[in-house]
């Protein structure tokens, strides 16, 4: 084909106009959320056993993204219609619930499912792992608000003090990139976080264009692609053979998030978010079981001052009392499993469990679940 200068210029101008038009349409229609609902998971690939998250995509066949629609569409929960004989349990929480350094079968959900539990009325307990490796109750609320549509019978909400600080609720990318949904939750449940908080991102027009959204699109495509490797290997996390164990010898530091003894003010903790979660679960017809998740109780240096890297004793002890009293006042089921697991069964953090530690928690939970079923 022979092209002269004028034809080449005409083609270039047309291509440029098309490019601009495409970007404008993209920014005006914002098709990313709709695209997120389209998924090869549960169609071509099996659904994932936990929400997508991964710092090392090449080895984990998994990645972190911010599109909740795509994340949920990739989960097995989205592909399994609830059967009449199913007692559906959703596990919400942080990296301990997600199963950091644990294979799927060793996570809390995996262990519960392996027990083949049945409720008193004969329903089969089926647990779904909706943990996500971020410590923020608002993140949990965001997940729960989506998960409520999947008809849970019981929501097991695993919490720890690190998820509670009110001023840290919005300080996580997954929360910040879902600003619109978070603002809606703030408004609907009158949360103390401010809807105009600068942490909640407001994308500019350019950021909403095709060019601006290229990262979101690439993430969606990579998530779909990694589905093949998830199907081929059933691996969704790179678990190294060796890791640095959680700190046992501690600094004699009594502070917690800038707070000092003697008192841990209740208003410094986001109990309002916890209450909002109860309402969402109740609206969905599900009961809630709040679990204060196990922590490493160290016996190393300065363990008289701190339980572990995260918590000074005074703050954690007061938190437990505050949490218990708060939940009791609202009639919410509560399991305080804080010292259930011995320190030998923690891996690289004061909340990450070994398979055996996870098993201990699952057994304790199983008793409560069967009792509630």
């Amino acid at each position: 084909m022979t092209l002269d200068a004028r034809t080449a210029l005409r083609i270039a101008v047309k291509a440029l106009l098309l490019f601009v038009a495409l970007n404008l349409v993209f920014a005006l229609t914002d098709p990313v959320p709709a695209l997120g609902r389209l998924s090869l998971y549960n169609v071509l690939w099996p659904g994932r056993a936990r929400l997508p998250y991964g710092d090392d995509p090449v080895r984990a066949y998994n990645l972190s993204l911010f599109d909740l629609n795509a994340m949920f569409a990739s989960h097995a929960l989205a592909g399994v219609p609830k059967r009449a004989d199913e007692f559906r349990v959703l596990l919400i929480g942080d990296s301990a619930t997600w199963g950091w350094l644990l294979r799927n079968e060793d996570t809390l959900a995996g262990q519960l499912n392996a027990m083949r539990l049945k409720t008193a009325d004969g329903r089969i307990v089926r647990a779904y792992n909706l943990g996500y490796p971020i410590m923020s109750l608002t993140k949990d609320l965001l997940v729960l608000s989506r998960a409520a549509a999947y008809r849970p019978d019981l929501v097991v909400w695993l919490v720890t003090l690190e998820s509670f600080p009110a001023d840290q609720q919005l300080a996580h990318p997954i929360v910040q990139h879902n600003a619109e949904a978070v603002r809606a939750l703030i408004a609907e449940h009158h949360l103390r976080s401010r809807p105009d908080d600068a942490a909640l991102l407001a994308p500019t027009f350019l950021q909403r264009t095709l060019v601006g959204q290229r990262r979101a699109l690439a993430d969606w495509l990579r998530l779909q692609t990694y589905g093949a490797l998830w199907a081929a290997t059933r691996i969704d996390q790179h678990i190294p053979e060796a890791y640095e164990p959680a700190q046992r010898d501690l600094d004699a530091d009594r502070s917690f998030k800038g707070l000092l003894p003697p008192a841990l003010p209740k208003d410094a903790l986001a109990f309002d978010v916890l209450d909002a979660g109860m309402r969402i679960a109740a609206d969905a017809g599900a009961r809630v079981l709040v679990v204060n998740e196990p922590i490493l109780v160290s016996t190393g240096r300065n363990s008289d001052v701190r339980y572990n890297f995260f918590y000074p004793r005074w703050a954690y002890d007061q938190y437990r009392v505050l949490l218990r009293d708060h939940l009791q006042s609202r009639g919410v089921d509560y399991l305080d499993a804080w010292d259930l697991v011995p320190q030998a069964e923690f891996t690289n953090s004061a909340v990450h469990l070994t398979p055996a530690g996870s098993r201990m928690l699952a057994e304790a939970l199983a008793k409560v679940i069967i009792g509630r079923g």
């Binding site: 002269d4 692609t225 093949a228 199907a231 290997t233």
Partner: protein, 474 residues
């Protein structure tokens, strides 16, 4: 005013000549700069400067060895001195950037070495070039010695234990600890391709077929910027024809060049990089469960390597085309070929042609002289050629097995074609049947090639055998 295809030759003549000269100098300077600019950083201090300098120094020496300029003890002509001064000037200019702090890494990845060291290296290069010219230039048979030396260097860079030893040597030379040496320390950009161009020139010289090339032309040929990273490997006389042809910028070539670049970029950066997420590798080969998924990984690898390499080639051909150089095609729909012989006539064609010209043909000629049986000659020729092509990628058992896989495959196809020739000829009047056989052949060939990648993609034979077992449910 730009000359176009429709410009009258008389009117365009003077302009075209000027553009041709500008193009020739431009490509020369661009290619010399690209040797430095494209070289990645390395853990060994300043090697991102010294290895490109070594590429250029060796290029100058090979040129001297293949040139008649020194053969008669005459002084080099003015053009040669000008070209040499230009190379030296660029090299010194890059080194001098170390004094201009914001620009010190403008061309090289790290700050260049001292100008005095670079001057000394240039002086040594000049002396070695003159020596190469006077010793080898007068004795064409000695080119063989230089070819062997270059192949030995290539072997060092392809054989991990030797590369590691070489890295240790370079580390010591740069005042670093040898204990940290690793084969990955030495990443000599484009060396495999440049080396094959040197050898092509030396062999053509020994056979008396190399046209006289100026230093500028030879350097441009050996380190031609668009083809520096991943070929194609052009032949010197063909490249020279394009380089010496009158050149005038024209839209058809430019648009075709841009089209090839766009197609190549799409193949490489969209399709191949996407398939890379799925392609067979050391990690997923051990993890994948089930034959179906394993086949998916193998297919993904087969297409990924084709689109990756084909994409690079398209971009190289496209860039060269804009400058009026028509680099040889490297791929011609290889996965649609009905047999392995045709596959190797359409996959990495410039490498296959290089081996055919400088290894396979001379070898089979020599074996025929010894009156070996034809099938034996074909077997030895094809298997050794393909094993050499394999180890050109790296001296490892798996690359050798990949070569062996294809060598045996080519031999079997050759024997089959010989056996079935008469029967296939009888089918010429049945086009549908012929089409069906051709399609079945393409499918079979693709799968043979795809399975061959299992050797190529993985670092050890046991892992590859494990993949074969999974693929066939054994």
């Amino acid at each position: 005013m730009l000359a176009t295809e429709t410009s009258p030759p008389a009117a365009a003549g003077r302009w075209a000549l000027d553009q041709a000269q500008a193009r020739s100098i431009g490509l020369f300077v661009l290619s010399v700069l690209a040797v430095y600019a494209l070289q990645p950083a390395m853990p060994i201090r300043q090697m991102d400067f010294w290895l490109p300098t070594a590429s250029l120094a060796l290029t100058v020496m090979v040129w001297a060895a293949t040139s008649s300029a020194f053969a008669t003890h005459r002084r080099p002509d003015r053009a040669t001195l000008t070209d040499a001064a230009l190379i030296g000037g660029i090299t010194l200019g890059i080194a001098a950037l170390r004094f201009v702090e914001p620009l010190s890494t403008l061309i090289t990845r790290t700050s260049p070495p001292a100008v005095l060291s670079v001057s000394a290296a240039l002086a040594i290069t000049a002396l070695l070039a003159v020596a190469a010219g006077r010793i080898i230039g007068l004795r064409p048979a000695w080119t063989t010695a230089l070819v062997i030396a270059l192949m030995a260097l290539l072997f060092v860079l392809k054989y991990e234990p030797l590369t590691q030893a070489f890295a240790a040597l370079l580390r010591v030379a740069q005042g670093q600890s040898a204990s940290q040496a690793s084969a990955l320390d030495v990443r000599w950009l484009g060396f495999s391709y440049i080396c094959f161009r040197w050898i092509a020139a030396l062999r053509e010289r020994a056979l008396g077929r190399l046209p006289a090339m100026s230093l500028r032309e030879f350097v441009t040929y050996a380190v031609f910027a668009p083809a520096l990273i991943a070929g194609p490997i052009d032949r010197p006389e063909r490249f020279l024809k394009d380089l010496r042809a009158s050149f005038a910028f024209n839209w058809p070539d430019a648009t075709e060049g841009v089209r090839r670049i766009a197609v190549g970029a799409f193949k490489k950066f969209v399709l191949a990089d996407w398939l890379a997420l799925l392609a067979l590798n050391e990690v997923n080969a051990a993890q994948a469960q089930g034959a179906g998924w394993m086949w998916l990984l193998v297919y993904a690898y087969a297409w990924r390597i084709y689109l990756d390499f084909g994409g690079y080639t398209d971009m190289a051909i496209g860039v060269a085309r804009i400058f009026g150089v028509r680099l040889p095609e490297n791929f011609n729909r290889p996965y649609l070929k009905p047999n392995l012989t045709q596959f190797w006539n359409s996959w990495h064609m410039s490498l296959a042609q290089w081996f055919r010209a400088y290894y396979f043909n001379p070898l089979t000629r020599a074996l025929r002289m010894r009156a070996w049986a034809a099938p034996t000659i074909i077997f030895v020729g094809q298997v050794t050629t393909m094993v050499l092509i394999g180890v050109w990628h790296g001296v490892t058992l798996n690359f050798a097995l990949w070569g062996l896989w294809h060598g045996v495959g080519l031999f079997l196809h050759n024997r089959w074609a010989d056996f079935a020739k008469a029967r296939l000829a009888a089918m010429q009047e049945r086009p549908r049947l012929q089409g069906a056989i051709s399609a079945a052949g393409a499918l079979l060939t693709f799968h043979f090639v795809a399975l061959g990648w299992v050797w190529f993609a993985l670092p050890d034979a046991a892992l590859s055998l494990g993949v074969f077992r999974k693929l066939f449910g054994l």
